[in-house]
């Protein structure tokens, strides 16, 4: 969980360099905390895909509203992927 959170935050701050990772709250809406347009959001998810090998389909975008949502989502898939191997 912690490792995933660090990796996700690192991708996020790569896209929004002005953001201080210590100030991102886990449970507030990401869009209220960071100025992300649809290109930024896509780049964020592409970064997660590249770093953590989790490809998030568009149909799941709506369920990813907070940092905790994203971390939980990724953790679940990483476990599933590992289980399938």
């Amino acid at each position: 969980m912690t490792d995933t959170r660090t990796a996700v935050l690192s991708v996020l701050t790569g896209i929004a360099p002005e953001v201080d990772p210590d100030e991102i709250s886990d449970d507030d809406l990401l869009r209220d905390q960071i100025d992300l347009d649809s290109m930024d959001w896509l780049n964020f998810l592409r970064g997660i895909h590249a770093r953590l090998n989790v490809d998030i389909p568009e149909s799941d975008y709506a369920s990813l509203r907070t940092l905790a949502d994203v971390v939980r989502y990724v953790d679940e898939r990483v476990t599933t992927n590992a289980g399938n191997r």
Binding site: D37, M39, L42, N43, D55, E58
Partner: protein
């Protein structure tokens, strides 16, 4: 002999400071090659050369502020017999990965004797000041030993230099802040000119996106995340195709008359994280498939935000699209970028209540469908509302036919 001059970089930029030469006398250059970097208020612009030839002489040393049209270098023709005249702009496919022809091994010249004045580019000077680097100790690798930004960056990351990592970061931040302040001035000048000179008229139209979004969602669902296309790309393509059909919205108002552009190069409004915006062009939009446009847009946004654009991207837009939907507004009424004559704005695509066809043939009902508000700000000197309305409804019709957008 060909004179290679400083290209126009858009109507709000009439000068720039030469920051780096990427070629030297004797080098062969080809059309579209990036030969120099010029600092402007909006970006470090990579200057492309539109001739084939050999560099004869660099006329402008690094650090000089040059006006648009100033000769920068002389070139010997590639083949004495067949030299093309400088074309206004050749449609070229810019390879995103085009590597500038940098000198592979920068000459490290010793610091000049005291009293001998070296050229230091202003950007390099700013960076050095913000990093507290002693310029005298920085070896210059530009012409005549001039000091470029690259030299300062190298000096900053040299082992001898103080704390690593944080330092280039601080330099970038300082650079960005200085640029943001200057950019405000440029935007003020261009937008004041627009509102002073251009008699704008505005039209708005609500476009039902149901067909195209359903199509795009299905298309994206079959693809990995690296191949997905954003709805904004469909909007760009639709505007590009419509602008091709309605030529009076694609071009420039110059010297008291309308000048139609030959290609459709859509300027894309890109907001920068430090504030301000740029609207560089994606070239030949109607000719590109959605995947290509998506790649181009991704690349353009990344480079715009990194502060690195190409001269043709700055000078070429023939019409501009602004998209503020991601910020949550329904409608945007744009200000035309001089000397263009039209700007298309899109707000947020959202589910809205509309009258739709009912269940029974010929009946009507009320439904919830996804729509976007499209607006046109156009120059009344170049076109009238009647044609503007047709242009805007053409965009609507194109967005109802995703197959046409895909081609």
């Amino acid at each position: 002999m060909i004179e290679f001059t400083m290209p126009a970089l858009g109507s709000d930029m009439d000068e720039g400071t030469l920051d780096q030469w990427l070629v030297k006398p004797g080098d062969t250059v080809h059309r579209g090659q990036i030969v120099a970097v010029v600092e402007t208020t909006k970006a470090a612009v990579e200057i492309e050369c539109w001739h084939d030839g050999t560099v004869d002489e660099l006329l402008v040393p690094v650090g000089t502020t040059v006006q648009v049209g100033t000769p920068l270098a002389t070139l010997r023709e590639a083949d004495g017999s067949a030299t093309r005249e400088p074309a206004a702009r050749a449609p070229l496919t810019v390879a995103p990965g085009t590597a500038p022809a940098r000198t592979p091994h920068p000459r490290i010249s010793p610091p000049e004797a005291p009293g001998h004045r070296r050229f230091v580019s202003p950007a390099a000077r700013r960076l050095a000041a913000s990093l507290r680097i002693e310029l005298d100790a920085v070896p210059g690798t530009g012409p005549q030993g001039s000091v470029t930004i690259g030299d300062v960056e190298r000096a900053a990351t040299a082992p001898a230099a103080a704390p690593p990592a944080a330092i280039p970061e601080a330099g970038r931040a300082a650079k960005a802040a200085a640029r943001a302040a200057q950019m405000r001035t440029s935007i003020a000048a261009a937008m004041s000119r627009s509102k002073r000179e251009i008699p704008h008229y505005y039209l708005a139209h609500e476009i039902v996106l149901e067909t195209s979004l359903t199509w795009l969602t299905a298309r994206n669902a079959q693809r990995s995340i690296d191949e997905r296309v954003l709805p904004a790309v469909m909007l760009l393509k639709a505007v590009g195709l419509a602008a091709q059909r309605f030529g009076e919205f694609n071009g420039f108002w110059r010297d008291g008359g309308f000048l139609a552009a030959t290609g459709v190069h859509v300027g894309v409004g890109i907001s920068l994280r430090g504030g301000g915006l740029v609207a560089p062009a994606i070239h030949d939009v109607p000719d590109k498939k959605l995947d290509q446009l998506m790649d181009d847009l991704t690349d353009l946004v990344a480079r715009a935000r990194a502060g690195s654009l190409r001269s043709s991207e700055m000078s070429d837009p023939t019409i501009t699209v602004t998209n503020l939907g991601d910020q949550g507004v329904d409608t945007v009424f744009g200000v035309i970028y001089p000397q263009q004559v039209a700007l298309v704005g899109f707000g947020r695509p959202a589910p809205r209540v509309r009258v739709i066809a009912g269940d029974v043939e010929g009946s009507r009902g009320i439904g919830i469908v996804t729509t976007v508000n499209a607006t046109l700000a156009a120059d009344h000197r170049a076109s009238d509302g009647h044609r503007g309305a047709l242009f805007l409804t053409a965009i609507d019709e194109l967005l109802g036919q995703p197959d046409l957008l895909e081609k």
